[in-house]
Amino acid sequence: MDFQGIHDHLRAIEAPGLTGFDEPRKPNPEVKKDPGRAGDPYVIVDAPLLPDFLMVCREDPRLAFEILVDLSAVDPSKDDENLWVVCSLLSLTHKHRLAIKSFLPKESPVMPTSTTVHRAAQWHERECAEMFGITFERHPDPRHMLLPDDWVGYPLRKDYEFPEEYHGISCT
């Protein structure tokens, strides 16, 4: 199915948490300096319902998204008050992909873990947690993944300040 078909089907089965979608578009010549948008279309899902949404996507025979390829987060800018959590799903049966985006407020970046649906999410979420400071509730193994356990700050946030030193090792 193409993106339109997937989105219509998700609407028809009332997938939990689905709030909208976004598609690439050409720049509008009538609007001044309209950049348009390139790339892939994606659906927007409520962050607290993301695991349920992933479950529906996997179990529905017409969608059959068996593999969670990627789960990551984005800090779009310093001034934005939301973090994005982006997922990429893949269906081997129907040979289609789906990009998912959820918004999380930076003030309290807490969402449930998707490990219960896809165990592939476990390591991706650990990485997300240490890099962006997102808390995944009921995560089975919430340790750091790549950074040392005592690392301060969330490196992939746009307001991250590089440390001067780490245990006496100069970082500059």
């Binding site: 690439p24 790339g39 390829v69 990627d70």
Partner: protein, 392 residues
């Protein structure tokens, strides 16, 4: 004592091991261990010879690739892609270039697509040679590794001729490739293919059909279909469990769709020939068979390549249109994905890398408990990880 699930094989031959009960012991395998293929630690809990728990610990080779991506220009990031899966740098270049191209509206010249595929497939051969060769070393067979380095050396010499580098190429650029193949290069690739086909037969007999190798890998580390999908495995790890999926065929990119429709290559799948479906031998077999398929793809391109431009017209300072795209390609180890976010400027806003080794490694937590300590090395080797990619 109660056995962890999967501790006994179907034939029951491992039951004797639990006669003696010892205290659980935690062993650090790594960070410096030859079988971890890089700087990685696996904390193994074992009861005698029986592994009861395993916990891979990463980060020793973390080089902040994603953070660097947010601080350099689009073109400047390309050399960093070489460094995550350093055994398949051409494929990484291709993955990143294609992700940027997905955001832009560029037409890649036909000759550039051909050279891209030739280089990517040659690099796949080189990468699998290392994978199979070092796997032999893990299991105590040193000789095949040295033979395989002979062909890999030639492959690297070929790349040296075309781009000047032996390991970190940065040859496939956004919009095409860096320069045209030098005179005589394509015919040398053909000679390489001829030689490799003969050598491949030797490797197959020397390693894959070796009785000791079979005993060490067959029935070991079986990944059932559900586990493979649950952990998001890709590449030979998936195909070893007979799940028929290859992005080159199923979601074709570059000119692979055309090559597939021409019937030039096949997708090898694990069959459980020597033991159980999805065991270590099946994964090694998928890799070694894939090398021959790569040779066929290279030959297809060599037959059809024609002179022409090799790079599209790309400005020196690239501005990528605002938007976001995820592009996944079939690397030797599985799906390499790049998620790129642009605001229309010179620098990416987000440069996420989904490395296949990262997801493939996660399966160890579920696969190792219940196996023997000696088999643990065979299983880790069969996942064929590159630590540069898991840690990025």
């Amino acid at each position: 004592m109660t056995l962890p699930e999967g501790a006994t094989t179907a034939t029951g031959e491992r039951e004797y091991l639990v006669d003696v009960r010892t205290q659980d012991m935690e062993v650090n395998m790594g960070p410096q261990h030859p079988a971890t293929h890089g700087v990685m630690k696996i904390l193994i809990r074992c009861n005698g010879e029986l592994v009861t728990g395993a916990q891979p610990q990463l980060g020793f080779l973390h080089r902040c690739a994603e953070k660097i991506g947010e601080n350099v220009e689009w073109l400047q990031y390309l050399p960093y892609t070489d460094r995550y899966d350093y055994l398949a740098a051409m494929n990484n270049n291709l993955g990143y270039s294609m992700a940027v191209e997905a955001l832009m509206d560029i037409e890649i010249p036909r000759r550039a697509e051909m050279i891209r595929v030739i280089c990517a497939e040659l690099n796949r051969i080189g990468s699998h040679l290392i994978a199979i060769g070092t796997y032999g070393i893990d299991l105590g067979a040193f000789t095949p590794f040295l033979y395989m380095f002979r062909e890999r050396e030639w492959m690297m010499a070929l790349f040296e001729k075309i781009c000047g580098a032996r390991l970190t190429y940065s040859y496939i650029r956004i919009g095409g490739v860096f320069n045209d193949a030098p005179p005589g290069w394509l015919s040398e690739v053909e000679r390489f293919c001829d030689t490799f086909e003969k050598a491949w037969r030797e490797y197959y007999d020397l390693l894959m059909m070796n009785q000791i190798f079979i005993k060490r890998t067959a029935d070991v580390g079986v990944i059932p279909r559900e586990m493979a999908l649950d952990f998001g495995l890709t590449g030979p790890m998936l195909r070893g469990s007979a799940i028929d999926w290859d992005i080159r065929r199923d979601m074709p990119y570059s000119i692979y769709g055309e090559i597939w429709e021409d019937g030039a290559f096949k997708i090898p799948l694990g069959s459980g020939e020597m033991g159980t479906l999805g065991d270590c031998w099946d994964r090694a077999w998928v890799r070694i068979t894939e090398m021959m398929e790569s040779v066929k793809i290279v030959r297809w391109c060599l037959d059809r390549i024609e002179p022409g431009p090799v790079i599209a017209d790309i400005p020196k300072v690239l501005r990528v249109p605002a938007g976001e795209a995820y592009v996944g390609i079939e690397n030797p180890r599985g799906e390499l994905g790049h998620y790129l976010l642009s605001d229309g400027g010179k620098i990416p806003l987000r440069c996420r890398v989904r490395g296949p080794s990262f997801s493939n490694l996660a399966v160890l937590e579920a696969l190792l408990p219940g196996t023997l300590l000696a088999d643990a090395v065979a299983i880790i080797g069969s996942t064929d990880i590159v630590v540069g990619e898991t840690d990025r």
